[in-house]
């Protein structure tokens, strides 16, 4: 005959469940405490380090870059939020936010001239001009970091590599491989001609004209038929240094 569950059995089972739960909770609590303790230690160590090297981090761009590298390795992003101890301790968040704002301002001011594509080096120089009080304290690395933070705004700020140079793009233009190759070619003299593009890149004239027309439409190129050889030249304000001070005067 099957034994039906009595009241005693039910009570036993419930008691056992309670015991397990208590035990589980204890284990979990011990674990969390341990982790909390570890985190506190880690944090205080990091804080101590940051405090100790505060001035270096603030003043020395090379050191700042290394500090960021270290933070990335341990999975901490000092720029993730402006609240919390990083900001309070270092003001490092503010530094990059300010830099980001300045970069946006420069990109906007020079956009009519360069079509929204600017040489990183040139951008850096303009940032430095703007921050006269601590000239030289901003490195290209800092600018890159500030730009990467701008991405969260979804405004299409991006750094693209063309040849050896880095260009900062502030308009949502899609540049394909052909465009990049032309920009790379233009870095030598600041301009290209259709012939030159055909010859150097072994393109058909249709392909060259098409790519150049797009760059013209996007405001990244300007034409010049004033040279005495009569050949039309396509100039790229984003790669030639003669433009560097236009916009800085604004």
């Amino acid at each position: 005959m099957r034994r039906r569950p009595g009241i005693g059995g039910l009570q036993n089972a419930a008691a056992a469940r309670d015991q397990y739960r208590l035990l589980g909770e204890n284990v979990a609590r011990i674990r969390t405490d341990l982790m909390k303790e570890q985190l506190t230690t880690f944090r205080s160590q990091l804080e101590e380090f940051a405090r100790k090297h505060k001035n270096d981090i603030r003043k020395n761009p090379a050191f700042r870059s290394q500090f960021h590298e270290m933070c990335t390795k341990v999975g901490v992003d000092p720029l993730a939020s402006n609240k919390g101890f990083w900001a309070e301790l270092l003001g490092i968040g503010d530094f990059y936010y300010e830099l980001g704002v300045q970069i946006v301002e420069i990109c906007l001011a020079t956009r009519p001239h360069n079509g929204g594509l600017i040489n990183l080096q040139e951008l850096c120089n303009m940032v430095r001009q703007r921050r006269k009080n601590d000239r030289g304290a901003v490195s290209e690395d800092d600018c890159l970091r500030a730009i990467s933070k701008l991405k969260v705004l979804g405004s299409g700020f991006e750094v693209i590599s063309v040849g050896k140079k880095k260009l900062v793009r502030s308009v949502p233009t899609e540049l394909n491989k052909d465009h990049n190759e032309i920009l790379e070619l233009a870095q030598a003299q600041g301009f290209v001609t259709v012939n030159e593009v055909e010859r150097r890149l072994s393109w058909t004239s249709g392909r060259a004209t098409d790519a150049l027309d797009t760059l013209l439409e996007e405001g990244l190129a300007m034409i010049d038929d004033g040279h005495r050889d009569g050949k039309c030249r396509y100039w790229f304000p984003c790669v030639s240094s003669i433009s560097s001070s236009v916009g800085a005067d604004m």
Partner: protein, 179 residues
């Protein structure tokens, strides 16, 4: 930075494509804007009142980069100034352009201030005296273009601030202020 006499030229003046009228609308707007500012600035500092499109004008070519503005480009930039009321064509063929770095109304105000500063409220002056008399020496009115001056005086006449009359000598007119 390149200079024309004591005038500092902007950087774009050395960038060849700015001497070619740009085909893309946005780019051209920016280009026209820069040229408008340059022309007004230059004329203001050098006291130039009239630009002849077919004549030599320092801004129309840059020997350093060997670029010259085409007639079409010159006309485009000046037309842009005309449409803003900062210039006026002097002939139908658009060959001569009057540059108004001060609008006629502003010139009229300058004349009123000049009259008050010199206590000439009820006096009589000849037009030529306003342009080159001792009172106007060192003021903006010294050497002002006659066309612009007459336009400003006529504006003031309409407002009843003065009366213009023919002088005794046929080549000059007189102005009776009544401010």
């Amino acid at each position: 930075m390149q200079k024309l006499g004591d005038f500092k030229l902007p950087h774009f003046f050395n960038y060849p494509p700015y001497f070619t009228l740009q085909p893309v609308r946005d780019t051209r707007e920016k280009q026209v804007q820069l040229w408008k500012e340059l022309i007004l600035d230059y004329c203001r500092t050098q006291k130039i009142f009239v630009i002849g499109l077919e004549e030599e004008f320092p801004l129309f070519s840059n020997p350093v980069i060997e670029r010259t503005l085409s007639h079409e480009a010159r006309e485009a930039f000046l037309s842009a100034l005309v449409s803003e009321g900062r210039a006026e064509w002097l002939d139908k063929g658009h060959r001569k352009c009057l540059i108004l770095w001060h609008r006629i109304q502003e010139w009229a105000d300058i004349i009123l201030n000049f009259v008050k500063d010199n206590g000439l409220e009820d006096s009589v002056m000849t037009v030529e005296e306003i342009r080159s008399g001792t009172e106007s020496r060192g003021t903006e009115l010294s050497g002002i273009d006659r066309t612009i001056l007459m336009r400003a005086l006529k504006l003031l006449e309409q407002k009843g601030k003065l009366a213009i009359f023919k002088g005794t000598s046929a080549d000059d007119e007189g102005v009776k202020f009544s401010i």
